[in-house]
């Protein structure tokens, strides 16, 4: 069973360098961002996630709501495995698809095909799986012969079709997404939304961060409200 269980998760970002002391005074009274704290070694740290505990079960569609710096993206990165929590436990089961930065690993001098293969490899796919997926991904992008050209020749709209097509080509148990992805011109965008929706629907768990309550209400059954790195409210819709 896919699940995400977090218990007392804490994430602190250390501030290094000579400026850390004055920095502390500067940020101390600001309204955005995590709260400042001191760690065991008396260093100034930004507490990005403060003692988060929650359980996410199969079928859950979780929306993370909060203002800038409330910890939404940090939490997503922790779930994606980038940051290991400073303390607390995180227990996850199921394959994870991270849509946090789908352009990761792309290379503007490489061709579209090469880029597709590169992103797929980074996702852990073997060469046979890549060969199998390639025609489907290529077809979806509608880029045709352009895929044999270096990425730098693409317009920015065309450019985004490539990672989007790859990211939505592989199904996963847990999908992490920071704001709703939308790509392409009007016609392509419709097709892309349908494909994204299909991928998200097939996922067992979705964790989606957004500023927009409307978006989360439309797509989620639970809303986690984050404030200054703390989980202040869980709404079940």
């Amino acid at each position: 069973m896919a699940h995400i269980n977090a218990k007392n998760l804490i994430v602190d970002f250390p501030i290094y360098g000579p400026a850390s002391r004055s920095l502390k005074n500067a940020v101390l009274h600001s309204a955005t961002g995590g709260s400042l704290a001191k760690d065991a070694a008396n260093r100034v740290v930004v507490r990005a996630l403060n003692d988060l505990s929650f359980e996410i079960r199969e079928g859950d569609r979780v929306g993370l709501l909060g203002h800038n710096g409330s910890g939404k993206s940090t939490l997503l990165r922790v779930l994606a495995g980038g940051y290991e929590p400073v303390s607390g436990t995180l227990d996850m089961a199921g394959s994870v698809a991270s849509m946090l930065s789908i352009t990761l690993g792309m290379e503007s001098e490489a061709t579209g095909y090469e880029n597709i293969a590169m992103i797929c490899t980074l996702m852990g796919l073997g060469s046979r799986e890549i060969a199998e997926l390639m025609p489907k991904i290529a077809e979806f992008t509608e880029l045709g012969e352009y895929l044999s050209m270096p990425l730098r020749t693409y317009s920015s709209g065309m450019h985004m079709r490539v990672p989007f097509a790859v990211a939505t080509a592989v199904k996963a148990d847990i999908v992490l997404m920071d704001e709703w992805l939308s790509v392409g011109d009007e016609a392509f965008s419709k097709k892309a939304q349908a494909r994204l929706k299909e991928m998200l629907d097939s996922a067992k768990i979705l964790v989606l961060a957004s500023h927009s309550r409307a978006l989360l209400e439309n797509n989620c059954n639970r809303i986690f409200r984050l404030e200054h790195g703390s989980l202040v409210e869980i709404e079940n819709l």
Binding site: G82, T89, L90, D91, S98, L100, E107, A110, L122, G124
Partner: protein
């Protein structure tokens, strides 16, 4: 996946082992690095070979004369020395950047950190392969004896690669945390090039040969360079390098198991 119950040492070892198994990823990243540097260049990475070749052709005869060495033997010595030194020194300099350069990947994905070390080692091995071809014209123009003991160069290379893994982990961690260390190491390596018997021989020091013998970089050079020229490396050099491998690996493993989860926060 659970973050509890397993010891930091186990997680560190697991990172190193599972990272190695993801060879599809790190070989791709390593190739990508080489390709990216030479995209749109006609001869690509062979530029490295050419620049090393030019250096050999220029320095060989000149320093051969300065040091009063027979030109033929000295040129092949310089060729083997330079390509070995370039491998070692660029592995060390690149080690400083393993994690810094992979910031995007590290912060967003759960890939083992060791893959970025293997990537750097692989990239340098590719470049070394290109550089190695210099030995062919050198051999044709100035033949030296071919010998079965040349295979020992492979053993030396393998030993160096093991060393580059611990160096990548250790320097990668230290440099991610303390951003002055890369500068220190770079300037240290510049002077080390002259202090290490790369284009001169320890015998030239007369009774001061100990200066070369206490230099660990010298021994690392010896175990690859000498077999490349069909000579065996002194047993002492092998012993020193094996010693460094063991101690370096242990220290590095300790550092890695302690600070592995912190690296993402330092970037």
């Amino acid at each position: 996946m659970s973050t509890q119950a397993t010891s930091p040492l186990f997680k560190a070892l697991n990172d190193i082992a599972s990272g190695f198994r993801l060879h599809k990823i790190w070989t791709m990243l390593g190739w990508q690095d080489v390709k990216q540097r030479y995209r749109r260049s006609v001869i690509g990475p062979w530029w490295l070979t050419i620049s090393t070749g030019v250096m050999v052709a220029g320095m060989g005869p000149l320093y051969g004369r300065l040091f009063g060495q027979p030109t033929a033997g000295y040129v092949s010595f310089v060729a083997a020395s330079l390509i070995t030194w370039q491998l070692i020194s660029s592995i060390i300099t690149d080690s400083c950047q393993v994690f810094i350069a992979a910031e995007g990947h590290i912060k967003q994905t759960r890939l083992p950190l060791s893959i970025y070390v293997y990537r750097v080692v692989w990239r340098n091995l590719i470049i070394f392969g290109h550089n190695l071809t210099i030995m062919i014209p050198v051999f044709i123009l100035m033949p030296f004896a071919i010998d079965i003991s040349m295979l020992l160069a492979l053993a030396g290379l393998l030993l160096l690669l093991v060393n580059s893994v611990w160096m990548g982990l250790m320097f990668g961690i230290l440099c991610a945390r303390f951003r002055d260390i890369p500068q220190i190491i770079t300037s240290f390596l510049q002077i080390a090039f002259f202090l290490t018997p790369v284009f001169w021989k320890p015998e030239m020091l007369g009774k001061h040969q100990w200066v070369a013998q206490i230099n660990p970089l010298f021994h690392m050079v010896e175990i690859i360079r000498n077999p490349l020229l069909g000579k065996s490396a002194p047993l002492f050099s092998w012993t020193v390098v094996i010693g460094i491998t063991v101690i370096g690996s242990l220290v590095s493993l300790r550092l890695f198991s302690r600070y592995r989860p912190r690296v993402a926060y330092w970037l």
